[in-house]
């Protein structure tokens, strides 16, 4: 896996089992980066914007968000909206986690300005494959941003 080790991965999902599956499969796919599991949209925003329980966090860590869409309270849509409307944070790569490849969910992801989504790891080998391709994608994105 070519991910920069300085990159911290945020997995945001209200379902603990889903978070655990994502974590295990990232590890199984060779991702050694720190993985932080969060269960609500509010926690995710607090983490990203270094406030609330995370006010002590240094904001210079590079982040990658794996974001569930449907969450109680502040949902994935709202988290994405707030990140994309912040000039400093809008470059954070956000990958939507979908339960299915239901066209409606995918359409929603595109509408939110997020062209990347992964289906939750029902089949680990497929998930790992996706994460690997995602790694390539992120490298490409980084190179493009640095150029």
């Amino acid at each position: 896996m070519e991910l920069s080790t300085a990159l911290t991965i945020l997995v945001v999902d209200d379902d603990r089992g889903h978070r655990e599956l994502v974590r295990r499969n990232l590890r199984r796919g060779g991702v050694a980066n720190p993985i932080i599991s969060l269960s609500t949209g509010n926690q995710a925003l607090d983490y990203v914007f270094c406030r609330g329980a995370y006010s002590e966090r240094k904001g210079d860590t590079e982040l990658l968000l794996l974001l569930d869409i449907n969450m109680p309270g502040v949902d994935g849509v709202e988290v994405l909206r707030q990140i994309k409307s912040d000039p400093k944070k809008k470059t954070i790569p956000v990958i939507m986690l979908t339960t299915t490849d239901d066209p409606r969910e995918i359409k929603l992801c595109y509408e939110l300005g997020c062209s990347v989504y992964v289906t939750k790891p029902v089949d680990p080998s497929a998930f790992i494959e996706t994460v690997k391709r995602l790694g390539m994608f992120l490298v490409v994105v980084r190179v493009a941003e640095e150029a």
Binding site: D15, T40, N70, G73, T100, P124
Partner: protein
């Protein structure tokens, strides 16, 4: 007198002077008709001088085409007779005819012998002309009289014809004179207004105008007489006539000025009662049609809304059912992989990696199993919740009069333990009665109050207040709290299944409000909520104030 003295001295000259001064021609002739004397007047009348005619025959004066009566006159003269005032035509020197009256007398000598004739000829042209004029005048007046008689008879015929036409008209016809008095009506008019002909003739036409329009009608009438023209009356206005019995009849009027020696207005009046009725019936049908169309489009909209709801429901349900499925499938795979790893460990030729072996056996496999059983339980709970919701949807609700105040008291009594545990203060004001199913409405109050208890703002004593009032025939109830509230973004999904906003504050399946909505809407009521995060929430719902038709 000097003249008369000299004349008296010469009697012949005196006579000659008298003859010459006569206005009538005095002509003397002998018994053969030879002119012997010719006075000045004769010169004037006939155009011949005395010297031209004396010695010539009197016949030169005969008018051509007139039988020469000279011989017979001469014969009478010879017999001593006088021909008096004989009227005939004579001829002038220039050939023109001249009507004359002549008197011929015999002239006797001193022995009494007739020696000639004296003729006094009077020009009667003027008299003749006057006579002719008189005759013409007479004829003219005769002709005029005849014409007048003809005109009178024509008019009499025309009037008769006019009356016939009016009488035969299919409409009520009313002829009104310049003073606004009824001069002529037909039998249709009698029938339409319920009057006898004699009751209307000579009456002001306003007798047929309803009281409230009379003043206006007078103005219209004088306006029309000022500028008469064929036209319809009251375009764009509704016109009414009044019958003898006081009842009113909707009418349409056409006006037609008639010019004669006196001006009249002929009004044609049409009874439009039937037309009005037809129009009213038509517009009733229209209204009904519009109503039906509106009802249909309302029903359509309602159906479309329901359809959307069903779709949203299916989407949410399938999504939420899939969440535990993801875990079941995912952790089954995890178990599979753990097994594979264990097998690898056992088959490995090297000494057993006990640490890894234990981790798999003590952590990986048990946690996978926990997730699997937890998800299975969750799956089971969701299915049960759905079944419950479906039961609320299919249930036959009774429509009985409910004492909501006591229903709320009963509900609060049953929740005493959890209220006490929350430490919240719950109060209930008077609530108006409503119609519905006691068990179901009890459930609504219980879910809403339970909701308030669950989502109190941490660190603040809870206050829950239940109240109600009558509004537009509905009982409007509310449950108000000072709890955690929810953000505006949560509002659209609030009453949908499996929606949870504060999973951290209390456990639940996100079913309570969906059930509340299902029950309330099945009762024909509405449910909605107002909320401010960290301040509080008020849930409102309405119930019918009267018995529902059997559903």
């Amino acid at each position: 007198m000097r003249t008369s003295k000299s004349l008296i001295r010469d009697p012949a000259s005196y006579l000659a002077a008298i003859v010459d001064s006569s206005g009538d021609a005095i002509i003397g002739n002998d018994l053969n008709g030879i002119i012997t004397s010719w006075n000045l007047a004769a010169e004037g009348i006939f155009g011949y001088t005395a010297s031209e005619v004396i010695g010539r025959s009197i016949s030169i004066l005969a008018a051509p085409g007139v039988v020469d009566e000279m011989p017979s006159i001469l014969a009478q003269i010879r017999n001593g007779e006088t021909v008096a005032h004989y009227e005939t035509d004579r001829c002038r020197k220039d050939g023109t005819r001249i009507p004359v009256s002549l008197t011929a007398s015999p002239i006797r000598d001193s022995f009494g012998r007739i020696g000639g004739a004296s003729k006094i000829v009077r020009d009667i042209s003027d008299r003749k002309r006057a006579e002719r004029d008189l005759q013409r005048l007479h004829e003219e007046s005769e002709r005029r009289t005849m014409e007048l008689e003809a005109e009178i008879s024509r008019r009499k015929n025309a009037e008769g014809y006019f009356r016939l036409v009016v009488e035969a008209a299919p409409n009520a016809m009313i002829m009104v004179d310049a003073e606004g008095r009824i001069a002529l009506i037909n039998s249709r008019t009698e029938k339409l207004f319920g009057y006898e002909r004699q009751e209307l003739l000579g009456q002001p036409v306003e007798i047929l105008v309803p009281e409230r329009f009379r003043t206006g009608h007078l103005d219209h009438r004088s306006g029309f007489l000022g500028a008469p023209a064929v036209r319809a009356v009251g375009t764009g206005r509704e016109l009414f006539g009044v019958r003898k019995d006081g009842s009113e009849v909707p009418i349409e009027i056409g006006l037609n000025p008639i010019d004669g020696q006196r001006s009249f207005v002929l009004a044609s009046v049409i009874d439009i009662t039937e037309r009005k009725r037809a129009q009213a019936a038509l517009s009733d049908v229209h209204r009904l049609l519009e109503l039906r169309v509106r009802e249909l489009s309302d029903a359509n909209r309602e159906l479309a809304k329901k359809n959307e709801e069903v779709e949203a429901f299916v989407y949410i349900v399938s999504h939420d059912l899939r969440a535990p499925l993801v875990n079941l499938q995912g952790f089954s795979k995890e178990l599979e992989m753990s097994c594979e790893e264990l097998r690898q460990c056992l088959l490995a030729p090297e000494p057993l990696n006990e640490g890894r072996f234990r981790t798999i056996l003590d952590e990986d496999i048990p946690s996978s199993l926990r997730y699997i059983s937890g998800s299975a339980t969750k799956f089971q709970r969701l299915i049960e919740a759905l079944l419950q919701l479906s039961r609320y949807g299919r249930q036959q609700y009774r429509s009985e009069e409910l004492d909501l105040s006591s229903l709320v008291q009963t509900t609060l009594d049953s929740m005493r333990v959890s209220i006490a545990a929350s430490g919240a203060h719950v109060s209930a004001g008077p609530i108006p009665p409503a119609f519905g199913d006691a068990t179901a409405i009890g459930q609504v109050f219980s879910n809403l109050i339970g909701n308030s208890l669950k989502y109190l703002q941490p660190g603040r004593p809870g206050l829950i207040e239940i109240g109600g009032e009558i509004e537009n025939g509905f009982a409007h109830c509310w449950v108000r709290d000072n709890g955690a509230g929810f953000p505006p973004s949560a509002k659209p999904r609030l009453f949908q299944v499996f929606q949870r906003f504060h999973p951290d504050l209390a456990p639940g399946d996100g079913m309570g409000l969906a059930i509340v909505r299902r029950i309330v809407e099945h009762h024909g009521g509405k449910v909605w909520a107002e909320s401010e995060e960290h301040v509080g929430t008020t849930f409102h719902f309405t119930l019918p104030g009267e018995r529902a038709p059997h559903r």
